[in-house]
Amino acid sequence: MNGPLSTATIVVALLLGVWYLIRCALDRAPSNTDLWAMLGLSALVAVLVVVAVVGLITGDRPSDSTTFIGYLITTVAFAPVGFYLARLEPTRWGTLILGVACLVLPVLVLRLQQIAEATGG
């Protein structure tokens, strides 16, 4: 859970988030590129979650595995929900939705890392 994939996800999400906030400040609706970028981030997060699930099955389980699984479900669903809401809102606020979603994702990944570190014995 603490590998380079998590770090990459956090960095990409933060960069995209800043990008969306700038675009929102400039009063731009989400462009096709913006929406595709969000889908790309969703795919990256999906890979991360799949890796975590495989780790759950094969490796050490976190002591609080219920919370961990809950966070995994939230995390994997999060970017697609942002994408869906942003598609409904073709104004600057749609771009802000993408930005908020991108800035919350790193928090979710960090929480996942915290929970994963506490492995139950």
């Binding site: 919370t67 929900v81 606020w93 908020v100 919350v104």
Partner: protein
């Protein structure tokens, strides 16, 4: 003749869950899920430790869920639901925030509203204010 003003100006009867309201909808949704899940886990696994704090967590979660639904439903009823829950939320975060600082004993485990929502980047404190402002800005036209 059609209204010549471009889409820049928001129609007065636009649904409260659109425009900036849709951003609010997303943020309220996040809090509904996170507060709800947190309360669920706390109550299911260690209710006896701090029943008051955990019941408060559950109550806060219900308020966030209500606000999300109110924004999503819209119309007179949705507005009323959102208005009520935003107001309860603002009072809740101020009262619980103050109590949690004055009497730490009563709140051994954190709730969303402890320390004015400091565990959540003070978003719980700012959110109801933005919510109420948004509902005020989009109040039905004076007749």
């Amino acid at each position: 003749m059609a209204d010549p003003t471009p889409a820049r100006t928001r129609p007065r009867d636009a649904a409260i869950g659109t425009g900036a309201g849709r951003v609010l909808l997303l943020v309220y949704g996040i809090f509904a899920v996170s507060a709800g899940a947190r309360a669920g886990v706390q109550i299911a696994t260690k209710f006896a430790e701090a029943p008051l704090a955990f019941l408060l967590s559950a109550f806060a979660a219900l308020v966030y869920i209500a606000a999300t639904i109110g924004l999503a439903v819209g119309g007179t009823r949705g507005r009323l639901i959102a208005l009520t829950s935003c107001s309860i939320e603002l009072v809740g975060v101020l009262v619980v925030g103050t109590l949690s600082l004055l009497d730490k004993e009563a709140f051994p485990d954190a709730t969303v509203w402890s320390g004015y929502g400091s565990g959540y980047g003070y978003v719980p404190l700012v959110l109801p204010v933005i919510g109420l402002w948004w509902l005020w800005r989009n109040r039905p036209g004076d007749r």
